[in-house]
Subunit: 447 residues, 2 copies
């Protein structure tokens, strides 16, 4: 690991580029400017495109018609940092301990994005050229569902035309085990607001005569699951779920991770999930309904005996092929409307959403990606799906007709989206080499 590369990573991680927080807007933009400057210095043609949200940064080498065109996508925005008190070090003051660098965005996705950027820089510095036509596409809205990326792709479809897309924003099944991800879950988010009395009420004076929004929001959230079977109880939710293929269940059962690792990684007292499936099947191949946030009434120290005036509920659904996020949102809305308790009013706001994704890992580009992984890590890659969502992967397919290669560098204990997020410096270095091996392998596939 060159010190200069590490210094660059630290610089990049210092930007608090939290895309969901409107107060951080300036920081997100500063981070985009930093990328523009860095890419220019590396020798690429760079454009910063404003959007109705945060900017897209686009960079290209000198394209030649006789070469394959490869787009590498990444995102420079990060998740919020709360609960801040659970971080051992400030989230935007990168801290190195052993092989890990701790900071918000270190794994998701700045560290992985930067590995590709540095790989390209080094190749250009050494050879003055790349083996392929390269497009870097870096956005600042992935953590809020990339609302402006698909419109951007459509508007710039010609400029962005490519043969294949590569992304490092997924995980490795274990340290040192190269991993090729051929499927992702989709996502559909929505938020529910319940209103009861016009103001918080004294629960002694009025308790018993009015519906309590805090109780009602709990009843709504509880209506989403069959607790005993761990299944989602929304009518029609499973109708379009494609069953797992036999080879997938077999391959996953042979991986160096499973229920035991799931308990260790999460720290839960016991596992819990849909009956009849292993942990990996549950997170990679089955859909979920999750409460990401619920809140009403007094949550501070001590007690306050109120009936709150309102309550909120943030839900997200993780989807698998062939579920459609818009269908699921409509089913969820029907369910919530039917389940809404009496005596209050409900508003549902649809949030971001993205389709689930699955490709054949055995096509030509897939094989090239696996070859690059094997060259970089010296091992046969694991073939997996992932439980997370990268909705734009489906947009690349829909708008640019390009498959996406997911070559992740995140370790299972990287704590993405959580306090003490971290990135393995070994994987950072491997990522730089992987970029170089990947562009070569894809160029060879092209010839």
């Amino acid at each position: 690991m060159e010190q200069a590369d590490l210094d660059t990573l630290v610089e990049f991680l210092r930007f608090p580029s939290i895309s969901t927080d409107s107060a951080s807007r300036g920081h997100v933009n500063d981070c985009a400017d930093w990328l523009v400057d860095r890419l220019k210095r590396g020798g690429l043609d760079v454009e910063k495109h404003p959007t109705p949200g945060h900017p897209v940064v686009l960079a290209k080498n000198n394209h030649r018609p006789d070469r394959k065109t490869v787009m590498i996508y990444g995102h420079y925005d990060v998740q919020p940092v709360d609960p801040l008190e659970l971080w051992d070090h400030p989230p935007f003051e990168p801290h190195i301990e052993g092989d890990r660098i701790f900071a918000r965005g270190s794994t998701d996705n700045k560290g992985q994005l930067l590995a590709h950027l540095l790989g390209v820089e080094k190749t250009l510095a050494a050879s003055r050229d790349l083996p392929v036509n390269l497009i870097f596409l870096f956005e600042g809205e992935e953590e809020i569902g990339s609302p402006n990326l698909e419109p951007f792709l459509k508007e710039h479809a010609e400029t962005l035309a490519c043969d294949v897309v590569a992304i490092s924003d997924t995980g490795m099944v274990a340290p040192g085990v190269p991993t090729f991800t051929y499927g992702l879950r989709g996502i559909a988010c929505l938020e529910v607001a319940l209103k009861g009395p016009s103001t918080d009420l004294h629960s002694g004076i009025y308790g018993g005569a009015v519906a309590n929004p805090a109780t009602a929001v709990a009843q709504l959230a509880a209506s989403l699951h069959d607790r005993l079977a761990g299944r989602v109880r929304i009518e029609g939710f499973y109708d379009r779920v494609a069953p797992l293929e036999d080879w997938e269940s077999e391959a996953w059962a042979a991986l160096p991770m499973g229920d035991k690792e799931m308990v260790e990684l999460t720290g839960v007292p016991t596992l819990y999930g849909e009956e009849g499936y292993s942990s990996l099947e549950r997170v990679w191949g089955r859909p979920t309904a999750e409460v990401n946030g619920i809140g009403a009434g007094y949550q501070g120290e001590g007690s306050k005996t109120v009936i709150p005036a309102e309550a909120m509920l943030k839900l997200s659904f993780r989807l698998v092929p062939d579920q459609d996020p818009k269908d699921v949102m409509a089913l969820a809305q029907q369910h919530l409307e039917a389940a809404c308790p009496a005596g209050l009013t409900m508003e549902i706001e649809m949030g971001h959403h993205g389709k689930p994704y699955k490709v054949d890992p055995h096509n030509a580009f897939g094989k090239a990606a696996q070859h690059a992984l094997e060259t970089t890590f010296g091992k046969t890659p694991a073939l997996i799906r992932e439980g997370g969502s990268i909705p734009i992967v489906q947009s690349f397919k829909d708008v640019l007709a390009a498959d996406t290669l997911l070559l992740g560098l995140a370790l299972p204990d990287c704590r993405a989206h959580a306090p003490n997020e971290n990135f393995s410096l070994e994987n950072f270095a491997a990522g730089i080499r992987l970029n170089q091996n990947l562009l070569e392998a894809l160029a060879a596939e092209a010839s």
Copy 2:
């Protein structure tokens, strides 16, 4: 209304004496000191007693063995003020508009306490004596369940011996309608903490394989009620509930308040409650389980797709004769333990509690109180119960063997415990006269 009395009220309301908030400890103590000073200047013997929590302020006139001894109780602590943004004026900067003064504590209980204090001051200034032996007992922990008051009563039982207790901390059924309250609901509070994963998790990477504490807390809260019948579903909860007496239902049905007023006062879209009862019966004569606070996960702007590591739930039960708060807490604990979803750990913390209270409104002191109300307001008083809880009323019965007269001055729209709490200045002035009429009526009863 004398300007000096109003100025005194404003001074008293400026103290942010929030007893549940440890950061406000100094303010609670300052408020006690203000009372001590005021009572001394009024000509009473005053003692400030420290407790493990907030101080008790005790004041007496010159006691004579040939007179009845009357204790007047009040509390100088107040509820928290959040959600602060819903206040039209800062809660500790009293604001007068029309007949109302707006401030936290204006009705509950500083305004009503001060009316008694000023009534006594005026009588002493005019006659140099009172018609009874008076004990003022003012505490700073009513809003947190008076944890140190019963021990204080026991320790000072001889000093505090009295024939009857009077409290103005209840409501009037409508403006201008004097109201004598002969029953109160009891209370039992508890808090539940659920813990799942050791840290917040990415709901894509882990969703489906672990129990979600946000979902689980909703399931727990939802388990408390039969939604359709509006009844509490805890086994044994209703076993000791005494049915309403026929005369009560009849008297309440004739009051100038009911379902229509309940909708107007609360602003709910529709009423909701236990089947088979009127709104007044539901709040005065039936027990409840209320969620006062529920919280887990991300409640800020936008979305954050986490499985939270923990969740919290604050519950309170309002109890009616002959329910016992400790029994109910034990039943609730059993219920919660049995209902706790798999895959997480639960901790239950018992909170404050107090027995329900009911006296015969037709005994001698009750009649004297009704006489004082009639003299003050020029109307026959309404006889009601109230839904709120004043647990120490039961303590006065248990420790001092004294009944309590509840002569409330709170109007239905006073917003106690809520933003924009306010007190009627007309009732403030009436309260001063009521104190004078009450002491006379009780003295006459004694002769």
